[in-house]
């Protein structure tokens, strides 16, 4: 009842506005500052991306209203998702996601599903690479998997970010594909994980490129394979004349596992088509800037861009996949 009244009022207001002032293209525009929620802590991958976007928007004057970045990392991001879910009808709130869009509700049982939000756009996909310490003798995936299998079960340590999140999901999938057994050790952030590998406190990691690239360039780490269907696109040499493009896919090395992490944008529930359209246009402009392209290159991102039904469909397929991956791994919260 109330909602339809709102709608009616909104339509009348829009009609009036359209009739009186606005030109034919009068689409929706923010009228106050837009909150950009990050469901993760400061300094992580999502945080870096959101702050880069904020910097680009400010520098190129892409919005008339300011874009305010807010970290809501509590409960593995649950705090941020529930905040946006509870802001129905407020078009001044957007959120950047990582895989915790799926993993957090599944693992913790908080009352949230991505369908509670309005999908806006997929900005990029983050790759995962299997890394080992450069001092170790393993040169290929096979060397490494053989070594893990030969060692007593559980004595080889895989380090990763968070618990029951993407890194551990990949670890379990690798175990299933190879029959090897790891002990997974969760850390707070990806940078810390990479340094633990350099210090030989863990034996391998599945860090994102941006988290480990500095150590690779410094000759401390060695990439074995990338968990993607095709090789990464970037052919600029990083270390020893090798580029991201020279890293083989895990599948071609006999490790049949693909995993990409969503870096996408959602907005609050009950957004209108105009409002979604506004943000899609905004992110198209962001993607066209040289700063964004530089950022994509530095993190060797997969730059797939999806919007509308394609995006929603992609997310739906991924949700099913996470559900089955997490179910197989025994990561589901009771009741899910």
């Amino acid at each position: 009842m109330k909602r339809s009244a709102y709608l009616a009022f909104g339509t009348i207001a829009a009609l009036c506005a359209g009739g009186i002032v606005a030109p034919a293209t009068a689409a929706w525009e923010p009228v106050r500052p837009v909150e950009f929620i990050i469901p993760a802590g400061t300094g992580g991958g999502a945080d870096q991306m959101a702050r880069t976007i904020q910097g680009i928007v400010t520098k190129h004057n892409l919005m008339k209203q300011p874009l305010v970045v807010i970290n809501k990392s509590g409960g593995a991001g649950g705090e941020g998702f529930l905040d946006v879910k509870g802001s129905g009808g407020n078009p001044h709130k957007i959120i950047i996601t990582l895989s915790n869009l799926f993993t957090t509700p599944l693992a913790t049982g908080i009352p949230f599903n991505w369908k509670d939000l309005t999908p806006v756009a997929m900005l990029a996909l983050d790759e995962f690479v299997l890394w080992v310490n450069a001092d170790k003798p393993y040169k290929t995936v096979k060397d490494y998997v053989d070594a893990v299998k030969a060692a007593p079960a559980g004595s080889i340590k895989m380090g990763g970010t968070g618990s029951k999140q993407e890194d551990q999901i990949i670890t379990v999938a690798v175990e299933k594909a190879t029959g090897a057994r790891f002990t997974y050790i969760p850390y707070k952030g990806g940078g810390e994980v990479a340094v633990q590998l350099v210090g030989n406190h863990v034996d391998s990691t599945v860090n994102n490129p941006i988290e480990a690239v500095a150590q690779w360039r410094g000759g401390k780490l060695r990439p074995l394979c990338v968990f993607d269907a095709q090789r990464m696109a970037y052919d600029e040499p990083i270390a020893d004349g090798k580029a991201w493009k020279d890293i083989p896919t895990c599948k071609s090395e006999g490790l049949d596992m693909e995993y990409l992490m969503l870096r996408g944008i959602f907005m609050s529930p009950r957004a209108t088509k105009d409002q979604v359209e506004y943000y899609i246009e905004l992110f198209k402009k962001v993607r066209a800037t040289p700063e964004w392209q530089e950022f994509m290159k530095s993190g060797a991102f997969n730059t797939t861009f999806l919007t509308g039904a394609d995006y929603a469909k992609w997310v739906e397929v991924e949700e099913k996949r996470h559900q089955s991956l997490m179910k197989d791994a025994g990561f589901l919260a009771s009741g899910n």
Binding site: T42, Q48, R51, G55, K59, S73, G75, P186, G218
Partner: protein, 506 residues
């Protein structure tokens, strides 16, 4: 020698008028950010980061790191004047700083705090200049077991400090551990003790608890005792700075020890908070006036402030050379580096010489500029205490509320802060020490995480905590610190000189 040439080149970069202007601007912004509890260096830098994208990376990092120094300085101001630590590492500064302010020695306490901060930071920068590569590789030896050992040492060197009965100390610490356990269990990925309440997903933030326990609790106590500040007599004359400086060299030993503790903690990277607590704890043990700590000893301000600043500065080293931030603010700066296209890590010192040495030079100059700015303001800060309580108390309340709100932009946190205020008041009335509680909230979940990571790695064997010389040494130091106090107490009891029921401050 090449380093020195690079450094002088760095000075030339940092001394450009534009960069000096940014430095002063950064320091002033930083002090304001530090004074507002809850806003904090990390948030301040995060908010201002986008403004710097149009500058050159070197200018940008100079400004941002100056905000960082400013926030470090600013955190001490509210700790000393109002017993409200603006940053986690300022908590230990309140133990003696606030009693000093109550005795009318706010100027002395502020001067001591600022000067010690400068000394600590300077020591750490010199260390970064001289031994950066060596020190960076030391940090790599710290896995979970070593980190746990460091936290263990921090707890041990602090336990038994308070004059309250050990039972009350342990009870307060356990409350702290219980509060630290709320939220996400980072090892299993499960929620703990949230009872389905959305607001508890994030756990109890340290800052909310501290603003309530210390700030609001203190206002309630003052109201009960007669609506007046006891620091009104504070001298508001710049001469107080010089007088305090005359006294400070006496504490060179404490200073030096705190510098070492700070650098070590900053690099490992355990951070500034354990450094300040550990340094205070050890100073209390070793100092001649140790038994007066907590009643307004200037040495009790020098020790934690020196260590906190040394650690805060040293924390930038692992960030630059390894890409691991040693503090939340360093983490935000790290994000900034990536946005400017600079890759922190082993190659940064080789490929981006101008940037790295410009930053190091700005650390020297930024701290100096900061010291001058804050010292000239000491009389102004001290004069705040002359404002009648009935005017200043509502202002402090508003400041606390803004601080609590800005941590997570949540009004629930403001209510929580008030609840913590009442709890703090009650605990103080019942003579429970607050320090162990706060220490447990700050370090409890980190210690737990490192402990469980270690045991995961060792497949449940406790042998990992004695598995190499480094971790064994730290653990044994911790045990000595722990049992030393027990032995000492047993010894005093044997001699029949049992301490009285003890005073309020902890």
């Amino acid at each position: 020698m090449e380093e020195l040439v690079n450094l002088f080149h760095g000075f030339a970069v940092a001394l450009q008028p534009y960069n000096i202007m940014l430095m002063v601007l950064g320091i002033v912004l930083g002090v304001i950010i530090g004074v507002l509890p809850g806003l904090g260096g990390a948030n301040g830098v995060a908010i201002l980061l986008p403004l710097t994208f149009s500058m050159s990376p070197t200018s940008a990092i100079i400004m941002l790191s100056c905000i960082y120094w400013g926030a470090l300085f600013g955190g001490a101001i509210t700790s000393i004047l109002f017993n409200i630590p603006g940053e986690p590492w300022s908590v230990a500064t309140t133990f003696d700083g606030y009693p000093m302010a109550q005795q009318g020695k706010a100027g002395e306490a502020l001067t001591a705090a600022f000067t010690s901060s400068f000394v600590g930071a300077l020591f750490a920068v010199v260390m970064i200049t001289l031994v950066a590569p060596l020190v960076a590789s030391f940090a790599l030896q710290f896995g979970p077991a070593e980190k746990f050992a460091v936290y263990f040492l921090a707890f041990c060197s602090f336990v038994g400090l308070s004059k309250e009965p050990p039972f009350k100390t342990i009870a307060a610490m356990m409350i702290g551990f219980a509060l630290a356990a709320v939220g996400l269990d980072s090892i299993t990925g499960q929620l703990r003790l949230t009872f389905g309440v959305t607001h508890l997903l994030n756990g109890f933030d340290f800052l909310i608890a501290v603003i309530g326990l210390f700030g609001i609790g203190e206002i309630l106590l003052t109201m009960e005792e007669g609506l007046a500040f006891r620091g009104g007599k504070a001298k508001i004359d710049l001469r107080v700075v010089l007088q305090t400086w005359k006294e400070l060299p006496k504490y060179w030993m404490t200073s030096l020890r705190s510098c070492f503790i700070g650098c070590w903690m900053g690099i490992t990277p355990a951070g500034a908070t354990p450094a300040s607590f550990m340094s205070y704890g050890i100073a209390k043990r070793v100092a001649k006036n140790g038994k007066n700590f907590g009643k307004g000893e200037i040495e009790g301000v020098v020790a934690p402030e020196t260590a906190a600043h040394a650690a805060g500065t040293a924390a930038l080293l692992p960030m630059l050379s390894l890409g691991v931030p040693g503090s939340p603010t360093a983490a935000v700066l790290l994000g900034g580096l990536l946005i400017w296209g600079l890759q922190p890590g082993p190659m940064l010192f080789v490929e981006q010489k101008e940037f790295v040495w410009g930053l190091i030079a700005s650390m020297y100059l930024g701290n100096l500029v900061g010291l001058i700015v804050v010292l000239t303001c000491v009389p102004i800060f001290a004069a705040i205490l002359r404002v009648p309580f009935s005017i200043i108390a509502p202002l402090i309340l508003v400041l606390c509320a803004i601080g609590a709100y800005s941590v997570h932009s949540s009004t629930f946190d403001v209510m929580l802060m008030l609840v913590f205020g009442v709890i703090g008041y009650l605990l103080k009335k019942c003579n429970y020490p607050l320090a162990p509680l706060v220490l447990a909230i700050v370090l409890g979940d980190k210690a737990e995480e490192a402990f469980r990571q270690s045991l995961l790695g060792s497949q449940g064997s406790f042998g990992i905590f004695l598995s190499n010389p480094l971790v064994s040494t730290i653990m044994i130091l911790g045990l000595i610190a722990l049992f030393w106090s027990v032995i000492q107490e047993g010894y005093t009891r044997l001699r029949g000189t049992v301490a009285g029921p003890g005073s309020r401050a902890a």
